[in-house]
């Protein structure tokens, strides 16, 4: 029930704005999310690539993983330019909306496949473990791997669907736990493998290529005339080792301060971990599992590696169980990453009004874009059912989106070097200075390499080309139609953040929102004048200080109780800019809106309610800083019930004043 109107200058309605995008994660968590996808390929890439190109597969997998370093650098440059970045944003800024939509359509194909291949592969590992263990446990059952993997995969997808609906923080927590367990498994496996090599020796994988019947696609019959192009074909088959990198750009907006430094740290961690885990495991699998046995473990190669270690059978079985448990966890984590990454990509599209507005609806409790998550999960479930548990089929179809999104991304960042000559926070290395000009030779070389692999894959990976092109075409058409419909419905195309609004009749609601010992209140009004907010974000310590970003809706007269709590256009625009600023700095803010009949009373009441020791303002276009401070000092005194000191700061370009009362 709302209170009766009271005379005087008072806040009558308080609205706290929440969105899942206001929580930030460490670089370790960001790396773990990406690695859950990228490193999980260790569990299936060896089998798939060896089936395609023969036992030299580990060398090409290593080559692809080394190539991840420049691709990660590419993402660092792109993300540093656009906080809400990723391939869509970078390509749109560089080459226009059409190609951007095309690149995202291709990327969505791989996000759907990542979920499917990871979940199915996890099922295969579990089925393999069951079939290895049952005879020893005197259980006379056998699990049909493909059927079991389909059912299991659907369960995994359903689980992570629920997790993502609940928000990123919980999901990243799981990712970091999974990656810690993977690290333990890697240490155990590598140590045991070292012992096995010492006992039995090691057979280095050959360097010769042995393409399978299907792996040359439309180039079939030209095996002998391929020459050096064969290396590129083989490299293309191993390219699925680089899946998941786009997610790094998607989680960048949630990365905590210092953002760029943390992005670089995350990129380095991803590179080293994936290289060591996937590269070493692929080498060990070919070097330690006898050729005849290895084929039977094509779908669960790490199980084969465990069973090929030196030691008693029960110990091998224990290692297999450990490898399978960790594998199931990381592969499930990859499902999570794919859902998160695709949700991020779709959000970028939605911000540009390319997705239907209904899909941007926030979950009433968790504030996540649940309808987008539902869409992705539904497509993943459909793919799992359609593939009938065939990992190789999924692997063959895979990497279409990965390679083409990289090609578009590299091309876009390259073009931007010429189109937008503003100072970069970080640049891809290999730049040749010629007077005032700078030639991005490193970027150009990477683009050419990726483009060549993309073209070769188009010809050799038939499943990927046919299904990828079809999927991309359908998604592209959907995006184009949806964009046109949205443009017809709404004239303005400026992105507005979606918020959940929690309202109350008094400022006591704020006590639930603040938890740190210090509080700073930043008063904002004009979306074009957030200099002071950015300065406050720069200087405040997010560990110890809550930053409450405040605006007031001023209504004349005292009968304010019928005021609605929904935000108007100007407020939406203002808080969208606030969220963008918070994301840019990687620091959490608590946005709030109050309805009052006096802005100074509103600020004072809010600041005193949250226990602010500092109140920050921008330079006003209407009032002098003297007048602002005089009025604030008066209202502060008239409302203050204790003698706590407070600092008022006024910040603007070239203006910085502080006064303590």
């Amino acid at each position: 029930m709302k209170p009766e109107p009271r005379p005087g200058r008072r806040v009558t309605e308080v609205v706290v704005l929440t969105t899942a995008m206001l929580s930030f994660i460490s670089f370790g968590r960001a790396a773990a999310i990406v690695l859950c996808d990228m490193a999980s390929t260790a569990w299936y890439i060896g089998g798939i690539v060896e089936t395609a190109i023969g036992p030299s597969a580990p060398w090409f997998i290593l080559g692809v993983l080394l190539c991840a370093a420049p691709v990660l650098m590419l993402y660092v440059e792109g993300s540093a330019m656009f906080v809400r970045g990723g391939v869509y944003k970078v390509v749109r800024e560089s080459m226009g909306g059409g190609l951007a939509k095309l690149s995202v359509s291709a990327l969505m194909f791989d996000y759907v496949l990542t979920g499917a291949i990871s979940a199915v592969s996890a099922g295969q590992y579990l089925a393999g473990l069951a079939n290895s263990a049952f005879p020893r446990l005197h259980i006379h059952w056998a699990v049909e791997p493909k059927t079991f993997s389909v059912v299991f995969a659907l369960c995994v997808v359903a689980y992570f669907w629920r997790q993502n609906i609940r928000g990123i923080e919980e999901s990243s927590d799981k990712a970091i736990k999974i990656m810690s367990l993977v690290a333990v498994m890697a240490v155990v496996t590598f140590s045991w493998a070292a012992y096995t090599i010492w006992v039995r020796g090691f057979i280095w994988p050959p360097l010769t290529l042995d393409f399978s019947h299907e792996s040359l696609g439309w180039l079939k019959g030209s095996e002998h005339s391929l020459g050096k192009l064969g290396l590129l074909v083989a490299f293309g088959h191993a390219f699925l080792g680089m899946s998941g990198l786009e997610t790094l750009a998607q989680v960048y907006r949630e990365m905590e301060a210092p953002k760029l430094k943390n992005l670089k740290r995350a990129a380095a961690a991803i590179f080293v971990f994936a290289l060591l885990l996937t590269g070493t495991i692929s080498l060990l699998a070919v070097g330690l599992i006898p050729d005849a046995v290895r084929k039977t473990y094509a779908d669960n190669l790490l199980s084969g590696l465990a069973m090929s270690m030196a030691g008693p059978h029960w110990a091998q079985l224990l290692l297999q169980a450990f490898v399978v448990v960790v594998g199931v966890l990381i592969l499930s984590g990859a499902v999570n990453t794919s859902i998160m990454g695709s949700n991020g990509v779709l959000n970028r599209l939605a911000e540009d009004r390319i997705m239907p507005d209904a899909l941007r609806h926030l979950h009433p409790r968790y504030g996540t874009t649940h309808r987008m998550i539902n869409l992705v999960v539904l497509m993943q479930a459909l793919t799992i059912v359609l593939c009938r548990g065939d990992v190789y089929l999924l692997g063959e179809a895979y990497a279409f989106g990965v390679i083409w999104s990289f090609v578009f991304n590299a091309g876009a960042v390259l073009v931007l070097r010429f189109k937008d000559r503003s100072k970069r926070e970080w640049k891809f290395p290999g730049n040749l200075k010629l007077g005032r000009q700078e030639l991005p030779l490193g970027l150009a070389a990477l683009f050419l390499l990726l483009f060549s692999v993309g073209l070769v894959n188009l010809l050799t990976k038939r499943h990927a080309t046919i299904s990828g092109v079809a999927f991309t075409a359908v998604f592209f058409a959907l995006f184009v139609i949806s964009e046109k419909l949205n443009k017809r419905e709404k004239a303005h195309d400026e992105h507005r953040e979606k918020f959940n609004l929690r309202s109350a009749d008094d400022l006591g609601i704020m006590r639930d929102e603040i938890e740190r010992p210090n509080r700073v209140l930043v008063a904002v009004r004009d979306p074009g004048n957030l200099y002071h907010l950015n300065r406050a974000l720069e200087s405040h310590d997010a560990e110890t200080t809550d930053l409450v970003v405040f605006t007031s809706r001023i209504r004349k007269g005292l009968g304010l109780v019928d005021e609605t709590v929904s935000m108007d256009n100007d407020e939406e625009k203002l808080f969208t800019k606030v969220i963008e600023a918070a994301e840019k700095h990687g620091k959490t803010v608590t946005p709030m809106l109050v309805v009052s009949n006096d802005p100074f009373y509103a600020i004072t009441q809010a600041a005193q309610a949250v226990g602010a020791t500092e109140v920050v303002f921008g330079v006003s276009a209407k009032l002098s800083t003297d007048t602002q401070l005089e009025r604030l000092a008066m209202t502060w005194g008239s409302l203050q019930t204790d003698k706590k000191p407070v600092r008022f700061r006024i910040l603007g370009p070239g203006v910085e004043h502080a006064v303590d009362l």
């Binding site: 005379p7 005087g8 200058r9 008072r10 010992p517 210090n518 509080r519 700073v520 300065r535 406050a536 720069e538 200087s539 405040h540 310590d541 110890t544 200080t545 007269g557 005292l558 009373y601 602010a612 020791t613 500092e614 009032l623 800083t625 003297d626 007048t627 401070l629 005089e630 009025r631 000092a633 008066m634 209202t635 502060w636 005194g637 008239s638 203050q640 706590k644 000191p645 407070v646 600092r647 203006v655 910085e656 004043h657 502080a658 006064v659 303590d660 009362l661």
Partner: protein, 179 residues
């Protein structure tokens, strides 16, 4: 704008400890800047402008300043801007003046509230008018006084003040509250 201390941004945690507020501002008592002859009881029917004029004249007279009209015009100029009336019933006209070295203050107690001409939904029951030195280092003191006066003159005190009939009794009330 040079009256503020220019400083580099720093966390809020240490802000109260590094306060640039002057010592004078911290120890300032409202009762010490008032005198019985600067506490007025305007006759019923007086408007805000008249009361301000009477107060300016009284305050300047007490300080031996003959040109009270200049002081009045400065405070009137300030009043054309954002309101100085609070919803407690306190009106706080003020101005920063050249040529003075300390605070000059006076108070008017209205037996019958009058509406504020700029914000008619607010009533004036007590008017506290003051002048502070127009110097760089005096601005924190100016702000401190605004905060201190508005903090002191809460509705309970204003009720008591309007019930008094002499300047001495009013000053005594304030002294008692500040003790």
């Amino acid at each position: 704008m040079s009256w503020f201390q220019k400083k580099t941004p720093e966390p809020a945690a240490d802000s109260p400890k590094t306060a640039p507020t002057s010592r004078a501002a911290k120890g300032l008592k409202v009762s010490s800047i008032l005198a019985e002859d600067t506490i007025l009881f305007p006759p019923e029917g007086s408007g805000k402008a008249e009361i301000m004029q009477s107060l300016a004249a009284a305050v300047c007279g007490k300080a031996g300043i003959a040109d009270w009209a200049t002081f009045l015009s400065k405070v009137q100029e300030r009043e054309t801007g954002i309101s100085t009336t609070l919803d407690t019933g306190l009106s706080l006209p003020h101005a920063r003046m050249d040529g003075i070295t300390g605070i000059l203050a006076g108070m008017a107690i209205l037996k019958k509230p009058i509406p504020d001409p700029k914000q008619t939904d607010l009533s004036i029951r007590v008017m506290f008018l003051f002048f502070s030195p127009n110097k760089q280092d005096a601005f924190p003191l100016h702000l401190q006084l605004l905060r201190g006066v508005s903090s002191l003159f809460q509705p309970a005190l204003i009720d008591q003040l309007t019930a008094t009939s002499s300047a001495a009794a009013a000053l005594e009330l304030i002294k008692k509250l500040e003790a």
